[in-house]
Symmetry: C2
């Protein structure tokens, strides 16, 4: 029995590329594609593939959110994250949301096939580069910040001062001060500059 595969990616060229790489693979059946989260979910209401290859970087609802949504409704579908970036933060978030594997877009046909057959058996698969990135997690841990802290962080990056943030959020300036202090501690940064840089790079803003 062949493995039914579906793709969700907003890049036409990537979809074509994957189709081209998989078309001569007898064990794999191409079911089609969606170019955004909504049409992916719409498709699943009628038909369910075994494996979804999912771009993590899509306009609108990201692959990371879509992954969670799909897994909630269809726990039997296995998801492989697909991206040009091998950033720990992305991979980690994808796995947290129920993905079974992660493959970079520079993967070869062999890698792609291996990934699909592996996750279809219920196992996990990482491309070499992704696995290497994951091993660095202990070094560059993603800080766990609260809703409010994230809100304040965003406004800091916008260039607002503590006083302005306080006014905007209807809280005391002292409170903003505290949030800011905690952000610096959680990010292990010593001032606003490195805090913002790290946050932007980790895509937390």
């Amino acid at each position: 029995m062949s493995i039914k595969v579906f793709i969700t990616d907003d890049h036409y060229m990537v979809i074509e590329g994957i189709r081209s790489l998989l078309q001569h693979e007898p064990a794999i059946e191409w079911m089609g594609h969606a170019s955004n989260a909504e049409s992916c979910l719409a498709y699943l209401r009628n038909q369910q593939p075994d494996v979804i290859l999912m771009d993590i970087n899509m306009p609108g609802q990201s692959g990371i959110d879509l992954c969670k949504a799909v897994k909630d409704k269809y726990p039997g579908i296995f998801i492989i994250g697909l991206s040009t970036f091998n950033q720990q933060s992305f991979i980690q978030k994808m796995m947290d949301n129920g993905a079974s594997g992660y493959v970079l877009k520079n993967a070869t046909q062999a890698e792609l096939t291996a990934a699909i057959t592996t996750v279809a058996k219920g196992q996990t698969y990482f491309s070499d580069e992704a696995a290497a990135a994951l091993r660095h997690i202990s070094n560059t841990q993603i800080p766990v910040i609260t809703r409010r802290e994230k809100e304040v962080l965003g406004l800091i990056a916008e260039g607002l001062t503590n006083t302005e943030i306080a006014a905007k959020l209807f809280i005391s300036q002292a409170t903003v001060d505290t949030h800011r202090k905690n952000l610096l501690i959680k990010f292990q940064t010593k001032n606003t500059a490195s805090l913002v840089k790290t946050a932007v790079q980790l895509q937390l803003i």
Copy 2:
């Protein structure tokens, strides 16, 4: 006479996708691909295509640099920038370095073909989204900063204080102060936080 096309992209899936999109196009002849800047230049020493589709975002030497290198040696080759991002900064840099067009990776077969035939005639081509992004340039101009300013900017983002930067660069703290002041003016930002955010987002760091 068919147009000879070459691809330089580090993403295997994208190469396959483009090949798949172009294979039934009689007016276009697929010459092959390279997955990095070096092998692209090596290829050109023996054979020259009419048009190169070039990813702007490659490890090592970026497409932006490669574009310049190719145009210096082979002014007759037309280059189309290829990217997942429609950021003004990227498009602008690519055009500055001699590219004739810019296409997003979510382009359709029709768009891609149109781009290739257009630039092969010596004209320029932008995908709709890229053109739209370019029109915003007046709003979000990329600041022109000097070498020294860029150096200081990098150290600011690392979290160094003016005193520390001064010590590191063997200059006075007052000088660093001035550079910092000028950076704020050039980026039209009002403090360190928004300066760093903007700089990181524009990939200047």
